[in-house]
């Protein structure tokens, strides 16, 4: 599972290598062991390969701003690639690779908030949780537990927002 961000036009891919006992990400060719301290609002502290980093972060539109060691980084979320594996638009979640549905966490008609779990999938031996990228109401779930799907398959659709008067 990889997540992509752009920094000054350069793509940076972060791959989840391990979750237990601690989170390990690989960026470029380097693995980073990460321990987080509880964040308070926009302020955070984390240890990366034993080095403590304190900073601030916030997201505005598609840009993640991070202040670290007196530097500000503006990281862009590339359009069309969420950090979840589904290729998402505002109205639906599609699979970016073939896999199996492990569990369904939402129901049709349910209102979900950003970050709410929708599905647990297993693809290429990795389980991952699909979360809502925005607040919405679930229109339909197009898969069920144990069902398989192909790349590009429609997994969840949301109700279209009614246009504001």
């Amino acid at each position: 599972m990889t997540a992509r961000l752009q920094l000054n036009g350069t793509d940076h891919s972060a791959e989840i290598i391990a979750r237990r006992p601690g989170l390990v990400l690989r960026i470029g060719a380097v693995e980073y062991a990460i321990e987080e301290e509880p964040a308070t609002g926009a302020e955070f502290a984390l240890n990366i390969n034993g080095v403590r980093h304190r900073g601030w972060r916030c997201r505005v539109h598609d840009t993640l701003y991070v202040r670290l060691e007196g530097r500000t980084y503006a990281l862009r979320v590339p359009s069309g690639t969420g950090t979840a594996e589904g290729a998402e638009t505002q109205d639906e979640v599609r699979a970016s690779m073939p896999g199996v549905v492990v569990a369904v966490h939402c129901n049709a008609g349910q209102a979900v908030e950003t970050g709410d779990r929708l599905l647990t999938l297993e693809s290429m031996k990795l389980q991952m949780t699909v979360v809502a990228s925005h607040a919405a109401r679930v229109a339909a779930i197009h898969v069920s537990a144990e069902s398989t799907f192909e790349r590009g398959a429609l997994l969840v659709s949301f109700e279209r927002e009614s246009p504001k008067p």
Partner: protein
């Protein structure tokens, strides 16, 4: 003294003026365009009135509406801040005609200094040096004058200022055409096509003198500021005193500024700007008849409140200080925090203030007009605020400024903060080797240095702030927690 003052401005300068009004026990009336609703100056003022205008900047330029609002709100004074209508003689006159006090000079003085050709004649007539210059005329006369002055020349508009419409000319063949083009441009921008050309000083420094006049010919100077570090003719760093300025030259420049302001029977705080050549010759540039963006560095080294002085003088009081009362203590440096991208030719940027943390040390001053949650649009100037430090020496001030810039957190919109920190720690800046081409000359050294480790830490921190990534990283059911990642 005045009782209730309308501030015909917005952003940090409106907040700055409100602070002094409050300190003096005076009431403040803010004005705002719909786009600025909820802005700090609106929240901080005792009273706030919305201005109707389709275009946001037009609201703050609407003379009739502003005077009307001032009257209706029961204000007895109007402070224009800087920019907008601060140097508009028509506004000063309209305020006076409405029976209100304009916190600034008379309309006639604004008009005199606003006309760059008349102002430099006035300066020359009063013994203030001006750069040799020529005005458009018949080609033979121009050729003769050029022989006397020499190249390069700088073509400027009579109604210009702030670098607008300026062009450098290095050969006679270009001159006639440049004057014609500049004149056409000036006509379009300012409705006044008069232009002139003066000797262009290579590697010039921008030195300006803060003055304060009572309108009766009484004038004190509040020493000089160095504002040489500029981009696109816009100041970025300002400091006082000017570094590496010989004491006799400092005295001479300050005396020239007092001579000019005194001759104009200047009332209000004002700034006389000079170009300083590498050989020590200095020439009158222009006089700004208003409070300057960079006034805080003067306030810090002298321990004064210039806005309070403006208000007292406007109310008819005499000058608050004699020249001998004023002595510089230490050194102050200011830099302008802008929503812009220095790596892309300083283009203005937009966003939203997501996080704002200002260093709290006693020697640091932040004059801002923003708050968390505020949208930063393209409707107004890109300056968000100013960071100013004070210290015993220039070296110490530059160190403190670098630290303060590192400690300042302003996220949610691209800013020049990190760029400013690189400038403040540049060895040539630290040495005080300044001229107006400083930023262009050192552009390569001022580019950001990305380290792979720093970028990786930023990527990790950014991803861990995202709920959906956190769910991926931590939200996996226990039995599957140790399954390895898929590989391509």
């Amino acid at each position: 003294m005045l009782r209730r003052v309308l501030i015909a401005n917005r952003g940090e300068i409106a907040c700055r003026i409100i602070r002094t009004l409050r300190g003096l026990g005076l009431e403040s009336v803010a004005v705002y365009h719909h786009e600025d609703r909820g802005a700090p100056h609106v929240l901080q003022a005792d009273q706030a009135v919305e201005l109707k205008a389709d275009v946001p900047t037009a609201a703050y330029l609407d003379v009739a509406q502003l005077v009307d609002v001032a009257r209706t709100a029961g204000a007895d004074g109007v402070h224009p801040g800087y920019g907008f209508l601060s140097e508009n003689a028509g506004f000063a006159q309209a305020v006076a005609d409405a029976g209100l006090t304009f916190v600034g000079p008379d309309a006639a003085v604004i008009r005199l200094m606003g006309d760059k050709i008349r102002a430099r004649q006035f300066a020359r007539d009063h013994g203030v040096p001006v750069a040799p210059s020529l005005e458009p005329g018949d080609p033979a006369a121009i050729a003769a004058q050029v022989r006397a002055i020499g190249f390069p020349l700088l073509v400027k508009a009579a109604a210009g200022g702030g670098g607008k419409g300026m062009r450098i000319v290095r050969a006679l063949e270009e001159l006639t055409q440049s004057l014609a083009i500049a004149s056409a441009e000036a006509q379009r921008y300012f409705g006044d096509g008069r232009v002139y050309a003066e000797r262009y000083i290579e590697r010039p420094r921008h030195i300006e003198v803060q003055v304060l006049g009572d309108g009766q010919g009484g004038v004190v100077h509040l020493f000089e500021r160095e504002c040489s570090v500029q981009r696109r003719y816009q100041k970025v760093f300002e400091e006082s005193p000017a570094p590496n300025l010989p004491e006799p030259l400092r005295r001479e420049i300050c005396a020239a500024a007092v001579r000019l302001a005194s001759a104009a029977r200047y009332r209000n705080a004002g700034t006389v700007e000079f170009v300083l050549a590498p050989d020590g010759a200095f020439y009158f540039l222009e006089m700004n008849t208003r409070l300057q963006v960079e006034h805080p560095v003067t306030e810090l080294v002298l321990g004064v409140d210039l806005v309070a002085a403006q208000l007292r003088i406007a109310a008819g009081e005499s000058l608050p200080w004699q020249q001998e009362d004023l002595a510089v203590r230490g050194h102050a440096i200011e830099c302008r925090i802008c929503a812009e991208e220095p790596e892309h030719d300083f283009r203005p940027a937009t966003g939203r203030v997501g996080v704002l943390r200002v260093p709290a040390e006693a020697h640091v001053r932040f004059d801002g007009g923003i708050r968390e949650g505020q949208a930063i649009g393209a409707a107004f100037d890109s300056m968000l605020g100013k960071l100013i430090v004070h210290a015993g020496s220039r070296a110490e001030a530059a160190g403190r400024l670098t630290q303060a810039l590192h400690a300042l957190v302003l996220l949610g919109v691209p800013t020049n903060i990190d760029y400013l920190a690189r400038v403040a720690s540049h060895p040539r800046f630290r040495a005080g080797e300044l001229h107006t081409g400083f930023l262009a000359e050192h552009a390569d050294e001022l580019r950001p240095q990305d380290t792979p480790r720093g970028a990786a830490a930023a990527v990790i921190a950014a991803l861990l702030g995202e709920p959906d990534f956190r769910a991926l990283a931590y939200g996996v059911p226990e039995p599957h927690a140790t399954i390895g990642a898929w590989r391509n």
